[in-house]
């Protein structure tokens, strides 16, 4: 064994440029395969998220409470709050479809001494000019971009949190009625730390926002109302369920709040008739009748899925060709190298080596060129990336097998045909 290793080292040293070239090519090959793998699997991950939503329609719900004079009376009824809250809970839990609440109600923020950039202000992207204002003897308040989402929305959009923690189920239920946990878009990153508190006024009620985490940059959410909404400049709030109101002011706040919450969207692959039926059932058990499906829309994510499709096709083609080129070039190099060493065989044979020993020496050389860098890459990958390691290991192993196959088999065949006696008689 020791002798084989020494032979391999000596042979690698003997033809330095050749050995270096092979090693370089092997390294580049593994690197390219790694990058292509990472790109492909990130696309794969995205397309899993997208494809679950792609086939869905967006059914927008709209209440008819405020237009109707009789119904306005109904909303002033103290019972109304209980019914609306019940309806919202049933939409989330009883309705056998995805109920997605995503809305961009702005929130007035009192940033204290912090400078508040224009880009965080509500309506900035639409060219609306907004200035600071005074409210309840406090200033300066800024109308700031915010989105509210229910738990199903948060899950369906697969929102990733890079720092801190994502919302837990408890965050969607407000017990103390004073604080609201929030996630901030990535452009808030340098402004706040996790655990920071932000004074704010939401729908005319004072709250303290507690920063729970930061959302990964370029996170996209959408429904038929907001076809392309990036969260980077938004405060993301959980759509909350509050305890029963104690006074008139609180009750007025909650009315506004729940009236928004019940005007969400249903994402479903079913047709309108089926969704309508399911909705009617929920309306029945909640005693809430004045709402209906406003319209059916396709989800605006076609452009993402077509990008994914095109990228996937071409990346896999490129990967296959890179694989073929590299395996061929590495095999050629190794075969050439081994051919050049044929003359050494005779010397070894004269010195009493058996054919099997020589064969194992060749195989050891091939393995040390192909296998060791492969293992090195696996270790580096495990240390620095560690993302779906199993499939990566499988890929690297198949690369190794491919290369070994194409470089060892030609040599083996040649070994079979080799007429050593001719070689020894110098009649090659």
């Amino acid at each position: 064994m020791k002798m084989i290793i020494m032979e391999v080292i000596e042979s690698l040293k003997r033809k330095k440029i050749f050995s270096m070239l092979i090693l370089l090519q092997v390294f580049i090959f593994y690197g390219a395969v790694t990058i292509l793998f990472l790109q492909y699997s990130s696309i794969e991950e995205k397309s899993d998220q997208v494809s679950s939503l792609k086939s869905m329609h967006d059914y927008q719900l709209a209440d008819s409470l405020l237009e109707d004079r009789d119904m306005k009376k109904f909303t002033e009824n103290p019972e109304f709050l209980v019914i609306a809250k019940d309806f919202y809970n049933n939409l989330n839990k009883v309705l056998d479809e995805k109920y997605i609440y995503l809305f961009n109600q702005s929130i007035a923020v009192l940033p204290d001494s912090k400078e508040w950039e224009q880009k965080f202000l509500f309506g900035y992207e639409d060219g609306r000019d907004r200035s600071a204002f005074r409210m309840n003897n406090k200033e300066p308040y800024y109308a700031t971009k915010a989105v509210q989402m229910n738990e199903q929305a948060f899950k369906s959009y697969s929102i990733e949190v890079v720092k801190g923690n994502p919302f837990s189920t408890d965050d969607f239920i407000n017990k103390g009625n004073k604080e609201i946990p929030v996630l901030l878009g990535s452009e808030y990153d340098e402004k706040y730390q996790i655990g920071d508190k932000i004074l704010a006024n939401y729908l005319m009620k004072d709250f303290t926002l507690v920063v729970k985490g930061f959302i990964r940059s370029n996170t996209l959410v959408y429904n038929s109302q907001f076809p392309e909404l990036y969260l980077d400049r938004y405060i993301v709030m959980p759509a909350q369920v509050f305890p029963s109101p104690v006074d008139e002011e609180e009750s007025s706040f909650q009315k506004k709040h729940y009236l928004q919450l019940v005007n969400g969207h249903i994402f479903s692959p079913e047709n309108e008739f089926v969704v309508q039926n399911k909705l009617e059932k929920v309306k029945d058990i909640s005693d809430f009748y004045k709402t209906s499906i406003l319209g059916v829309n396709k989800l605006p994510i076609n452009f993402i899925s077509s990008t994914l499709q095109v990228s996937k096709t071409w990346l896999s083609l490129i990967t296959v060709i890179v694989f073929i080129v590299c395996v061929l070039s590495i095999s050629i190099l190794i075969v050439t190298k081994l051919q050049n060493q044929l003359k050494n065989i005779s010397v070894h044979l004269i010195s009493g080596a058996s054919m099997n020993q020589l064969l194992s020496y060749y195989i050891a050389e091939v393995i040390s060129i192909i296998l060791l860098p492969g293992i090195l890459f696996l270790i580096i990958y495990k240390l620095f990336v560690d993302f779906s390691l199993g499939s990566y290991a499988l890929l690297i192993i198949s690369c190794i097998l491919g290369m070994v196959l194409f470089s060892v088999i030609p040599v083996l065949l040649q070994f079979r045909k080799l007429e050593i006696s001719k070689l020894l008689k110098r009649t090659e």
Binding site: L21, A32, I35, N218, L220, N302, F303, I318
Partner: protein, 349 residues
């Protein structure tokens, strides 16, 4: 399976064919990526500058921006909802050059369509026909009771925002409808001063610039970083593979070179002969791949002269890269071989 000299040339040819295939498919991938990006950004480029014109009574002549660069200006007139699809109506003007979107039929705007008392439109392939009328075999798009002649229909083979976009020549749109609308300027170097002044040839225009952030499919998929890394690795593979193949080829030709040298032919002549042969092999292989690439392209519906130019440019870059690295390696390996076969070198080995 001994590798002979002839089969070595065959090997090299095969490998260069494959290298050509890498370049071709990567260029296709790149051009497609750019197209997807531009389309999902509704034709804006990634550093487009959105702004609003501050109270300005006279209509602005967008052809007179004081710059030598080519630029495109969009005016976001309206987004309307027709049969559950959102449609963007935009004014457009461009000087010299712009991004040409894939077309299904007809043509895109050209310089004769602007400031020539024309009213023309290019519409997406999904645009609802309720606002389209026909007169004397010509189709017109109606916007604010004005008729714009439809000169082309845009759309790629996949669905995109472009399918629901309507572009009108900006000078054909009345200045009232342009009032206080968002404008977007696509230009490589921003000509607007920090205090919001855009210089024209005859006067100036004060504008409010906004930072709307990037959008489009690369943004939502975070693909930029990977893209760059893949590019680097592809280049590395091109260089290292062509190096290896060249080295290998010259190795195989060693005996031939030795004989030539011993028959008294100068090394320069041998070098010339072999490198010409080698580059001929490479170029033929590469060009045949390019030919296949063009054939494939001609099957694509979004094929036009602009796309053709982009591909040719990518192919040319690939060819230069392969030729350069091969030239370097031919030179290095040839010198090595010569050193080995001339007496001095040979004795040392």
């Amino acid at each position: 399976m001994e590798i002979t000299t002839r089969s070595s040339t065959l090997w090299v040819a095969t490998l260069y064919l494959l290298l050509g295939l890498i370049v071709a498919s990567f260029s296709y991938y790149q051009v497609k990526q750019n197209e997807l990006n531009a389309l999902s950004r509704s034709l804006y480029n990634e550093n487009s500058i959105p702004f609003i014109v501050k109270n300005h009574e006279k209509p602005v002549d967008w052809s007179k921006i004081d710059t030598s660069q080519s630029y495109t200006i969009f005016a976001e007139l309206e987004t309307i909802k027709v049969k559950s699809e959102l449609q963007d109506i935009r004014g457009i003007y461009f000087k010299n050059d712009t991004y040409f979107p894939p077309l299904v039929s007809g043509r895109f705007f050209n310089h004769t369509d602007f400031y020539n008392n024309k009213k023309v439109a290019v519409i997406g392939k999904n645009v609802d026909k309720t606002n389209v009328t026909e007169k004397n075999n010509k189709y017109y798009y109606q916007y604010q009771s004005e008729n714009y002649e439809i000169i082309g229909t845009m759309g790629a083979e996949y669905s995109s925002k472009l399918d629901n976009t309507i572009l009108l020549n900006i000078d054909g749109v009345s200045s009232e409808s342009l009032q206080s609308k968002f404008h977007v300027l696509d230009i490589s170097k921003n000509p607007i001063t920090p205090d919001g002044v855009l210089k024209f040839k005859d006067n100036t225009l004060s504008v409010n610039v906004f930072d709307r952030g990037d959008s489009g499919s690369t943004r939502s998929l975070n693909m930029d970083v990977f893209h760059l890394m893949i590019l680097i690795f592809i280049i590395l593979i091109l260089i290292s593979s062509s190096f290896i193949f060249t080295y290998y080829w010259i190795e195989k030709k060693k005996t031939e070179i030795l004989i030539l040298w011993q028959s008294g032919i100068t090394t320069n002549q041998i070098f010339k002969r072999y490198s010409i042969r080698y580059f001929l092999i490479i170029t033929i292989c590469y060009l045949s791949i390019c030919l296949i690439g063009y054939l494939y392209l001609s099957l694509d519906i979004s094929w036009n002269s602009d796309v053709l130019f982009k591909y040719s440019f990518e192919y040319l870059k690939g060819l230069i890269l392969i030729l350069l690295s091969s030239a370097l390696s031919v030179w290095i390996s040839f010198n090595q071989t010569i050193k080995q076969i001339t007496l001095k070198g040979y004795l040392n080995k």
